[in-house]
Amino acid sequence: MTTHSFHRRRLVTIITEATLEGAILADIDALGPSGYTVTEARGKGSRGIQSGSWGLASNLRIEIVCDETLAPKIAATVHQKYASNYGMVIYVSDVEVLRADRY
């Protein structure tokens, strides 16, 4: 096995309402990350319980791996546009990736 070196990147995680899917993914895309990953979620927060039993009561968990510049931009843009009216949690963390050129 060849040696691989890891490169520091940022992971933005957004948890929000499933109804927002089309709009928020378009906005994220427009900021230019190399991609995103979505999983179905449910949960509880300041806006009560999202039981996941139907579309309006479901959440999404969106992850974006990107560089140090883009991460706060994505977090801030999404937060500014949606956080006051929609259930939303955003957090950012450090990750390491193998291919520096991809993110």
């Binding site: 996941g52 039993s53 139907w54 579309g55």
Partner: protein, 317 residues
């Protein structure tokens, strides 16, 4: 007293299981599947009916019913805004929910009539589709006014391309295109299973409604009252219009039920995107937590009695 239709018993089972914190739960994909079959089936039925009818007769009715859907939010809004002191966006949203229609309630009423051998006009499902939209448009106008910022194109997309309407109108067009013989081979799934699918759907709606009773507690007695009185007002308007349009007793009962019912699919989805500052817990608490159970359990037989009365009154004129 006529025995309870078993589909209602499924709804009650769901409410009881939900309130007693059973771990019973229908997976979201099954919820989607069941409501998809219901929407398509209702659309198909209406489309087949349209395929056998001179369209000219239906058009005036469609216009009248559409107007009713647009006017009802104008009636409800001031009550919610002035009397209920709801924020403007919330008042508009709740008003739009009640101007629109609940497909599940319609299905229960149609099943109730069939159960009691009351016939009705075959094209009633067309009105379900027609009623979905005007209330949304009026509701958004009430929330936003005619301000420049409103992105009407985006709004039209949210409204017309919402999955509920696509399935309902898609079903209508397919039924219209295929006609009675055309749909015969898909009858076993969409028509024969209809009441079984409705039963399972209502079981799920019972579980969901149980979850929304809590919302209601938080938002107080005004919404509870509104959720009980508005259907009665709507039912009266619907029955009067139905009678004026010359519908049969069954048709009057159905239009009355539609007017009495409140949306929980198309309207909340559209408002979530276009008027997001409106709190969905509020409108769904009223629509799903109060009006839906009320209509399912008590409203439908009541509106049928109302239809009988109104019809007799009109005959007597």
């Amino acid at each position: 007293m006529p025995s309870l239709d078993p589909v209602i018993l499924f709804f009650i089972l769901g409410v009881v299981a939900g309130l007693s914190r059973s771990d019973l739960r229908l997976p979201a994909p099954i919820h989607d599947f069941l409501s998809m079959v219901l929407l398509l089936a209702i659309g198909l039925k209406g489309g087949v009916a349209l395929s056998q009818q001179p369209l000219g007769e239906v058009v005036p009715q469609v216009i009248a019913v559409g107007l009713m859907g647009g006017l009802m939010p104008l009636l409800a809004f001031p009550v919610l805004y002035r009397l209920g002191h709801l924020p403007r966006a919330d008042a508009a949203s709740v008003a739009a929910h009640y101007g629109s229609v609940s497909v599940g309630t319609y299905a229960v009423a149609a099943a109730f009539l069939a159960h009691h051998d009351v016939t009705f006009e075959d094209h009633m499902p067309v009105f379900v589709a027609v009623l979905e939209i005007p209330a949304i448009v009026v509701g958004i106008l009430l929330a936003r006014g005619l301000e420049k910022g409103t992105r009407w194109g985006r709004m039209a997309q949210e409204v017309f391309l919402g999955r509920g309407l696509v399935l309902l109108i898609g079903g209508l067009l397919i039924g219209l295109g295929a006609g009675p013989e055309g749909v015969a081979p898909i009858k076993p799934l969409f028509f024969d299973l209809f009441k079984g699918v409705l039963a399972l759907f209502l079981l799920d709606m019972g579980l969901i409604a149980a979850g929304h009773l809590g919302d209601l507690r938080r938002h107080g007695v005004f919404l509870l009252g509104f959720g009980l009185v508005m259907p009665l007002v709507g039912a009266t308007i619907g029955a009067t219009l139905g009678s004026a349009l010359g519908l049969s007793v069954g048709g009057v009962a159905l239009l009355s039920t539609m007017a009495a019912s409140a949306s929980y699919i198309a309207v909340p989805a559209a408002f979530r995107m276009i008027v997001p500052e409106a709190n969905p817990a509020l409108s769904l608490g009223a629509s799903l937590g109060v009006t839906f159970p009320f209509n399912i359990l008590l409203g439908v037989p009541l509106y049928y009695q109302l239809a009988l009365q109104v019809h007799a009154f009109m005959e007597a004129l």
